[in-house]
Symmetry: C2
Subunit: 274 residues, 2 copies
């Protein structure tokens, strides 16, 4: 059975394309040519493998993993985190949701609050939104002048490179949906009593800036997908496909590392337990 080719979804890795990456070239309802049942089964296998690998990753203790999720509202960040990282041993996995910065955070550089949540060695850190908001919402809503956000692309690349050099592997996912799909999801959220609490009337105003956000995302993808910290664009309308693609990328990332259980620093045959 052939594995899903994840490199197709990695920005800048596709061999033939040298020109600018465009979001509209990625179908939001792509299913990788898989049937739903086969895709779900493949996800279950990849998920079991991720759980198995995490134990070794934790024991090895020489690397850390930082997983970034960005998306338009209703893109499925919460659901992806629940589906992919639920089941992973929570002792080695921390999720941080970055909301609008508070007063203290705004009085620091944009990476200050992020840095406090980067993973320790052996651990996974999962970011629900991230420092990328500071070149997305900050730009689209003009929260800072352009002289402030324009240098941030390079600062991000340098920061992520430093993390990489110190042992952290970084994988970034944009959960990619269409404007029509968002409409359908917002309506569902609005009229389901168990989901209504997640609805923020502000989301409607954000939706009006759809094209500005898509353009801001394209600049992020073109400037900040690096060998040290690649961006993946995940067609996110089929949840089973989204889960499979994300999980498989994580499995491949961890499998590429030279992990091993640490050798004991003592001679087991000389230990006496009475």
């Amino acid at each position: 059975m052939s594995r899903l080719d994840t490199s197709k979804y990695c920005v800048g890795r596709e061999e033939k394309r040298k020109d600018r990456f465009r979001l509209r070239d990625v179908k939001t309802d792509d299913d990788g040519g898989l049937e739903k049942d086969a895709g779900k089964a493949a996800f279950e296998r990849a998920h079991a493998r991720l759980i198995e690998l995490q134990q070794l990753f934790y024991a090895d203790g020489r690397f850390a993993l930082c997983v970034v999720f960005q998306a338009m509202d209703t893109g499925g960040k919460d659901g992806t985190i629940r589906d992919v990282f639920g089941g992973v041993n929570p002792a080695g996995c921390r999720v941080t949701s970055f909301k609008a910065p508070n007063d203290v955070e705004l009085r620091h550089d944009f990476l200050w609050r992020i840095h406090q949540h980067t993973p320790r060695l052996g651990h996974f850190a999962v970011f629900n939104r991230s420092h990328y908001e500071d070149v997305l919402v900050a730009r689209v809503k003009k929260l800072v002048p352009s002289e402030r956000w324009k240098p941030r692309f390079e600062h991000i690349n340098t920061f992520e490179r430093m993390l990489f050099d110190e042992g952290t592997r970084i994988v970034k996912f944009l959960l990619h949906i269409s404007r029509d799909y968002q409409r359908e999801r917002l309506l569902r959220r609005l009229h389901d009593p168990a989901k209504q609490w997640k609805f923020d009337p502000q989301d409607v105003a954000e939706r009006a800036r759809w094209d500005d956000y898509q353009q801001a995302y394209e600049e992020v993808l073109n400037r900040c997908s690096t060998a040290a910290a690649p961006w993946y664009v995940v067609p996110a309308e089929h949840h089973w496909f989204r889960n499979l693609l994300v999980t498989q990328v994580l499995v491949e990332t961890i499998e590429s590392l030279p992990l091993a259980y640490p050798k004991p620093s003592f001679d087991p045959s000389r230990i006496v337990i009475d």
Copy 2:
């Protein structure tokens, strides 16, 4: 089908006993009179209920939950956390492992580092070891003089009461094993290449202080099991029973709260999504 009676395992809740609680009165291999298969099935149901309740708990956002695990080495803290909290949405659950305090932490009061990890409203915090080490290992190994650790029981009760009054529900579990069981587990850890890295030769020295630790635990249980923050003694040699008892206590704790999905602050019928 009758539920397991969890109150039997709660220190100070048993109606008839007014005298001092003694650890040796609790069988470490107690199985609650259940068959293994029935117990495992009951755990699966309780676990599914816990996952369901967490979503409501998170949405409600008026309470937090702090779950403390203490045990002798090989008591199963890691395994319990993996089995009970794996599957829970990691976006609302943080595990903190408290190791020996570092230089900075030692220059603060014993609750300082703990307080930094208490849960935010809507979240679970899981403590793998806790402030109780400061009246256990600190006492048994004489890391601080008795004038220092003796007042800590009252400080702990007051601290936990404050957390309770501010919305945090606290549940504390001692995973209770026998000295013979520990021997068997240490030997297994020592000779299994995938577990050897968890073996610390220092564990053997700690084992020699078994009786001192049991006595220190008894004082903890007798002095710090309060209505605001009860201690449960969990017979932990049958993992399925341990998992069931812990999960059911958590489910009952959450079910006792008046949780509800927040009402929207807007009129859904007036929202237009184009």
